[in-house]
């Protein structure tokens, strides 16, 4: 499949797997500032799949697409270090507060503008664990989707994909254009490449450049520009974005605090354990 164009959907997420005790503020909201922001793990699996296709065929391009605040440009650089060709940061105040449906609306418009043959995303993002954005982007594009992919290759112009299901595997054959979401069981992403790291270390979006220190500019950094798109660039209808474009609303957020129960304290002595066993037998919990 020479010359195909691939877009990888990647999200910057707070590292919810390493949530410490200071992650919650006193008012019960999440203290995002103490959580490191990372490349969503399964999106890295998706990137690896894209790079493998690029390795196997001539003229394949891989473009990272991410929607988020300005600092999400970090993961575009991260993708470039590993072998992606370029990236687009979708950033605009109007996107803030989007649920999965509004997010996929914006992403689908950006994909339309990039006009790829194949879109790869992660199965789910670890901040929300919804696994909804991939299928919703596919629906908005009117393309088929294949989820839970862990292996894929081309055969006669179609993509043959192995899917990981709860208790087994399924192999499907799908035509392009197509959206595929990649499972964490797929091969891990390759490491950064030293040459690419040097090349893209100073790649910046326009907004980032404006915020950069004068040292950076004085040093005459080779400013590779990263594409930054807002609402106009993708001709989005603001009504369908952000909170107004999101059918789901958060009514209430509750911090998880374990409620202490009235519990009986026992020792490991024979006396204590025997009386416990008798009590459980008497009230028919066991026996």
């Amino acid at each position: 499949m020479n010359g195909i164009k691939i877009v990888v959907l990647a999200k910057q997420v707070p590292d919810t797997r390493n949530v410490g005790p200071d992650a919650m503020k006193a008012d019960g909201t999440v203290n995002r500032s103490v959580l490191p922001a990372i490349f969503n793990p399964e999106d890295l699996n998706a990137l690896e799949q894209a790079l493998r296709i690029k390795d196997s065929y001539e003229g394949v391009t891989v473009t990272l697409l991410t929607m988020g605040p300005v600092r999400a440009a970090e993961i575009i650089r991260e993708g470039l270090y590993r072998g992606a060709d370029d990236g687009v940061l979708l950033t605009d105040r109007a996107f803030a507060g989007s649920d999965t449906l509004a997010t996929s609306y914006a992403l689908a418009l950006a994909v339309r503008r990039l006009a790829p043959d194949l879109v790869l995303g992660g199965r789910q993002a670890i901040d929300g664990d919804t696994a909804q954005v991939g299928p919703q982007v596919a629906e908005k594009l009117g393309w088929p989707q294949v989820t839970y992919a862990e292996e894929m290759h081309f055969e006669g112009g179609r993509l043959i994909i192995r899917r990981r299901l709860e208790r087994g595997v399924e192999t499907v054959s799908a035509p392009l254009p197509l959206v595929v979401t990649v499972n964490g069981t797929a091969p891990a992403c390759r490491y950064r490449n030293a040459r690419l790291l040097m090349k893209y270390k100073y790649a910046r979006t326009d907004t980032e450049l404006q915020a950069e220190s004068s040292d950076y500019i004085a040093a005459g950094r080779p400013a590779v520009r990263l594409t930054e798109w807002g609402v106009e660039a993708i001709s989005a209808d603001p009504e369908q974005l952000g909170i107004s474009g999101s059918p789901t609303k958060v009514k209430e957020i509750e911090n998880v605090i374990l409620q202490a129960k009235e519990s009986k304290r026992l020792t490991a002595s024979d006396r204590d354990i025997e009386s416990l066993v008798r009590e459980l037998l008497e009230n028919h919990t066991i026996g």
Partner: protein, 339 residues
Amino acid sequence: MNNLFVFCELDEGRPAEVSLELLTKGRSLANTLGCRLEAVILGSGLEGIENELFPYGVDVVHVADDPVLEHYRTLPYTSVITGLFRQEKPQIALMGATTTGRDLGPRVSSALHSGLTADCTGLETGDHYVKKTDTTYKNLLYQIRPAFGGNIIATIINPDHRPQMATVREGVMKREIVNKNYKGEVKKIDIREFIKPEDLAVEILGRHIEPRRVDIKSAQIIVSGGYGMGSKENFALLYELASVLGGEVAASRAAVDAGYAGHERQVGQTGVTVRPKLYIACGISGQIQHTAGMDQSGKIIAINNDPMAPINNIADYVINGDVAEVIPKLIKHYRANAR
């Protein structure tokens, strides 16, 4: 019109456990809302399948029975479900948070522009007042789910769009037959009305699905081990205790990661949710991701050598001691006292 719909999926030709659990929940929500409970089931060779659903209090079963639908595929299933929902206008639609439900749900919700909440752990009904417009929404579905790696619990609502959609994992809701003689109505879906030729673009080349092996979910007594068990060998103590009590062995993720037990035994947010009559937590600290999968158990015994372990907060009985000493004593005293 405006009834509660449950998408029922098949597992080896029978209605899946999670779908029956959702019908049970759906029945009680429909009672509260004063609407009917309707099921949708798609597949091939479904003759008589409705009789397995009616006992859960289903008023209408919509059946699409066609060889094209033999195995789940995104596009034909989405076309049938969205087509049906456009006609029937459900107020609520529930599906299992399985690889099928989580592939189908978002596609349907996007096509209908309705909100979808994944992996709910609770479904309730209630009102919602919006100050800005001074409107009260009556009888919304409260979709309760953990977020942020389980560190917060959020209640999500969809005030303006229908259906209000949610997915729920297997084992989270209870399954209960309402009346084994309950009879509803069957409505056949004519799939030619909904499926377009391009819906068949993706072909299934092969499937290999393993039968269910260990089933910790239906066990009445669970003996669960954590990282504090110390070794795979020590897990043998748990099998012994489980076998004398007539229960199953489960594990925390740390124990699974350490290779003490297989993944199918993992309890918690990323494992199975269980609610046995008795849960014995041995050498488990009780992190929220674990307790989220077992805190609804009837009675909880915690065996831990740390008197401050968080698991103790939710336990009915706390045994402060070493698992290697306590478990053999439990076995000994059970054998001596049980008849």
